[in-house]
Symmetry: C2
Subunit: 252 residues, 2 copies
Amino acid sequence: MTKVKCTISYDGTNFSGFQIQPNKRTIQYEIEAALQRMHKKQHIRIQSSGRTDKGVHAKRQVIHFETTLAIDPANWKKALNVLLPSDIVIHRVEIVPETFHARYDAIEKEYRYFVLNTGEPDVFQRNYSYFDPFHIDIKKMQLACKRFEGTHDFTSFCSAKATIKGSKVRTLYEVSCQKHENTIEFIFRGNGFLYHMVRIIVSVLLDVGKSKITLEEIDTMFILKNREYVGMTIPPEGLYLWNVVYEDEREQ
Amino acid sequence: MTKVKCTISYDGTNFSGFQIQPNKRTIQYEIEAALQRMHKKQHIRIQSSGRTDKGVHAKRQVIHFETTLAIDPANWKKALNVLLPSDIVIHRVEIVPETFHARYDAIEKEYRYFVLNTGEPDVFQRNYSYFDPFHIDIKKMQLACKRFEGTHDFTSFCSAKATIKGSKVRTLYEVSCQKHENTIEFIFRGNGFLYHMVRIIVSVLLDVGKSKITLEEIDTMFILKNREYVGMTIPPEGLYLWNVVYEDEREQ
């Protein structure tokens, strides 16, 4: 058996998320269907660095699978790109050691969230950023970003539906935001993210930028460890899984 | 009766073009359906500055219609944006003199065409630019652009299916191209455009950029007045109707 690692991107607009679900178009379904065609109808299960929700995009996502086929990386890439629909693209294929795991070996993930902050909606951005026409103070948000950096228990900032039983302590290496022309870009880099965590934190940051909540209230939210005291979950269309880092890539 | 002018944009991806066709989703159909809901089921016919093809986008398109409703421009804009699907946006509504006509009064139109010129396709650009990974010489194309500026008979550069009977002489005020990062942007401004004219000229320009044809061959193509001697029609996804100018706006 050979283990194959693929670095992929996808436009989440027309998918019901990453994970296979009955009668839904998902990224996992499309990739496994392409692999099945290459393996004489044998089903090949893929593993990803983590799921993404309906409407969420991936600029760089990583998957792996095992195969008995002896194909070199360049030809894997070509074959899969021919078989896959146009909203999934394979950027890189590597043959990796048998011990590699796309999820367990990831040491850092990066997400970005884009907000179109101008008076008029842009029809070409409607699936690729969240439209918010109100005045947003970037400097205030930049101060608030710092409150999320470091190691914290993020219980208040993940979906109450989160199924994980373990610790909700995560470390964020970077939380930042900047405005370029009409677009606010939020960057999150960390060792792991809980369900809806980025979308909930972006909501809180925007509320700070609109002076609806204060920096001190963020501290209180952390202390309360209760999702109910924190605002809404912002829609998925502005969210991108931007990068996944593995041990041997840290120097890059 | 009141005449209403609307400046609109649309993402052409999921439309079969502008013009109404049986059993197809078109921009004209969606706007007329929204107007019909506002006019107690009475059908309101719209006129545009010109049709766009399947997959072609509009950054700024202009339409007009006549109505018996007394609604101010701000409320027209709000009502139509609520009733229209998310891939059409109304940017501006004006009450105009009875003599105004979106097509006949247009004195200048601008189209832009975007080519993603890099080694890897970008999944987020697949419906919004044409992907061409080959080496393209921008300077050569910039020289070729000049051959198209001015007043010419564009018979060789319009679809052989073009139904117009009249003159195929048009004046182009600007034909230019520039590369910003990985994207080549072509700009065309003129007093009128024939069917497929921009998409055919962009194909020719790219062939010049790839040294497949020479500047002198462009001169020959003009002289031959025959579509058959000119290359393919480039796909629609990179094309945008960018602006339509009317007499009273020239100073803007």
